[in-house]
Amino acid sequence: MSASSSLRSFGTALRTLLVLTVLLGILYPAAILLVGRAMPAAADGSLVLDHGKVVGSSLIGQDFTGDTWFHPRPSAGKYDALDSGASNLAPTSKDLAKQIEDLRAQVAKTENVSPDKVPADALTASASGLDPDISPEYARLQSARVAAARHLSEETVARLVREHTEEPLLGFIGVPTVNVLELNLALEHAAGSEAQ
């Protein structure tokens, strides 16, 4: 191939790439950005407001510690939303097995239940490290502790857990989940209203 035909091929390739970059790299995402303005809640990250203040995103898990809160799943990234990721530990890993055993004992002690009652999601880190959900089993396990710490009746807390349990779409898409941030926010408001 001669030098001039190489140069021509290079030119064609470069010009075509630049034109396609404008179409696919600028106009296309810009169009979706525009559509996003029609549904800002979703486009901006499903932010959760409390008294006009952003307290998080309903999609992004947060860490909650202490007796007054429902606790989320373990997180490899400690719920740092700028550092998503998993533990990546192999199932044959001795570290993982030990970590799970330790967590089981710890959760059982915190919730004052027998270790075999602790569900798997309380013992395993998620893939993103930002899992916003826990299983209804884990939420129910924590209800007694949270109710006691907040001086709420166990029925009130159980009702909140029920209200915040999301069933699978159409009965089969997904698994039942409880959004920890939304549940804790409801808890905060319930505490306020019951005190009045």
Binding site: P29, Q62, L82, F172
Partner: protein
């Protein structure tokens, strides 16, 4: 086990959606690549690019255009990620180092989307949208173009012309990928996938902590990332990140998107060669391998007899609760079977057998159904090899679709099949012999070997998923894996286009009573068997030292 029935229903739902789209999309794509009329926007692109869209190309010219285009794409992407700090909306991110920029540029141009960087920590909106997402479209369009050129070679007689690369590239982007991506980006957006240009939002949480919630042009990228079987996540956690994949239904939608074009292309093939039965035969062979793998992974994940997962009571380590175990398995099998490489769960935390099957999915050569375009031409190589083997058994000259499979065709097809195993095995062996690479492994023993093997399998198959644990961002691994991606992508493309040309030049041999039928269940079984046999023969020793040793250990 109670999860099994809803899980199976989810899988059936996706299969039903694919079945619905199979004919309309497959027929549409066949029209796109056979019509002689141009859209107005396409004419504008051709004018600006200096392209004559009505001139056809022989295989050398077609290949030359493809290679020049890919080379320029690598250079531009390298520049973008190196110099992203001067671009608008860079979000304070600095340019990548030369070795990482090389790895990233090659990775996205080869449709691999191996990520040695961490999305939210390394790249701003401009590099993601203008650099990476553009290659998500174009690398997919290149894959489709090569498949279509091969279809034309099989359909045509006594010609050297295979079509026009630029027209195939532009039409694949403008008429197929862009409209579908737009629709599904909006659907994903409605499902909670973010799309904004905001800096991270600083939040004071109820629990008294501070959290920074990122933004980005995620919805637009997520749609094409799956549709083009690319797989490069906007965020480090990829499709496990709630902003990429917020719910169980978006998870199913993403699986659907990964499978959509590779599956429908078998219809396009059938229409373009004038025998839809052969399209169904190819799809069936792909389907057998896919379903066998899916069943195996789900079974091993639900039984989870092994150590740590047994201790937890369920294989939830490295999985998002909202997808469930089966939803995660469905995604994992689809992403490794389609060369997508997106992940919604940590593959390294899968059960040894489940994780081993995910590696096996890739060493099959990404053919069931494989990447967009590349899966199709990969499976056709297997079909040719199957015709040859079956022909040897019955003592007839092998033919496929009325084209003779002579020595030159066999050489080209065999080489195309052997590129990937050679790249993987030699690459892994060389890398393993380097002390600096061994230091990148998270653990010694079989799991360490699996990490490295997985990386080379993922790179050479242009899959891009990572078995994590491996610290892949080292100069040596960045350069070596970049080379593996280049070889694994372009050597088969060269061989496939040459093969397409030898078919186009032939006349069609009429079917006789002695012609081996290549669309019946028997031949479908032979294709699936040959695909398994080739990968088993080439990879069994390596797999025995890695995942198999780990599962037995």
């Amino acid at each position: 086990m109670a999860a099994l029935i809803p899980g199976i229903l989810q899988i059936l739902l996706v299969f039903a959606a694919l079945a619905l789209c199979y004919r309309p999309l497959g027929d549409y794509m066949a029209r796109v690549f056979t019509t002689t009329s141009h859209w107005r926007v396409e004419r504008a692109i051709y004018r600006l690019g200096g392209i004559n869209p009505d001139a056809e190309q022989g295989w050398r010219s077609y290949l030359r255009s493809l290679l020049w285009f890919s080379l320029v794409s690598i250079l531009l992407l390298y520049l973008i990620v190196r110099t992203q700090s001067v671009l608008p909306f860079a979000g304070g991110h600095t340019g990548l180092t030369p070795d990482q920029a090389w790895n990233t540029a090659v990775s996205f141009v080869t449709n691999t989307n191996w990520q040695s960087y961490s999305g939210e920590a390394a790249l701003g909106v401009s590099a993601q949208a203008v650099g990476l997402a553009v290659q998500n479209f174009l690398s997919a369009a290149v894959g489709i173009a090569v498949a279509v050129a091969l279809f034309r070679g099989l359909a045509r007689t006594e010609t050297s012309q295979l079509g026009n690369f630029w027209v195939d590239l532009v039409r694949g982007s403008v008429r197929i990928l862009l409209p579908l991506s737009t629709v599904f980006a909006v659907v994903l957006l409605a499902g909670g996938v973010v799309q904004n240009l905001a800096d991270p939002v600083t939040v004071h949480t109820l629990g008294g902590a501070v959290q920074h919630i990122p933004g980005g042009t995620v919805a637009s990228q997520e749609a094409i990332k799956n549709l083009g079987t690319n797989g490069g996540g906007y965020f480090n956690a990829n499709a496990a990140h709630p902003f990429e994949n917020p719910s169980a239904w978006t998870n199913l939608l993403q699986v659907f998107l990964m499978l959509l074009i590779p599956v429908a292309l078998t219809r396009t093939f059938g229409v373009m060669i004038g025998s839809k039965k052969h399209g169904y035969a190819i799809l069936s062979a792909m389907g057998i391998l896919y379903i066998a793998s899916l069943a195996g992974v789900i079974a091993s994940e639900l039984v989870n007899a092994s150590g740590a997962l047994h201790a937890a009571g369920s294989a939830l380590e490295g999985k998002e609760l909202r997808f469930g175990v089966i939803g995660s398995d469905f995604f994992a099998v689809s992403t490794t079977m389609t060369s997508t490489g997106a992940t919604d769960a940590a593959h390294s935390s899968f059960t040894p057998l489940g994780g081993g099957l995910l590696v096996l999915n890739m060493v099959l050569g990404e053919i069931s159904p494989g990447g967009v375009g590349s899966g199709m031409y990969g499976m056709l190589m297997i079909a040719i090899l199957s015709v040859f083997i079956a022909g040897l058994m019955v003592g007839r000259t092998p033919e496929y679709l009325g084209k003779k499979i002579g020595p030159s065709q066999m050489k080209l097809a065999s080489l195309a099949i052997l590129v990937m195993p050679a790249t993987v095995l030699i690459g892994t062996a060389v890398a393993f012999s380097l002390p600096s690479v061994r230091a990148s492994l998270s653990t010694s023993g079989p799991h360490g070997l699996t990490e490295l093997l997985y990386a080379f399998v993922s790179a050479a198959n242009n899959n891009g998923s990572a078995f994590a644990g491996l610290s892949a961002n080292t100069p040596v691994l960045n350069v070596m894996l970049g080379l593996a991606m280049l070889l694994g992508r372009f050597l088969p493309i060269i061989l496939v286009l040459a093969l397409a040309s030898t078919f186009a030049e032939q006349r069609r041999v009429p079917d006789t009573a002695g012609t081996l039928p290549t669309h019946r269940p028997l031949f479908i079984g032979v294709m699936a068997g040959v695909a398994l046999l080739v990968s088993a023969l080439t990879f069994l020793p390596a797999l025995a030292l890695g995942p198999i040793a780990e599962a037995l250990g």
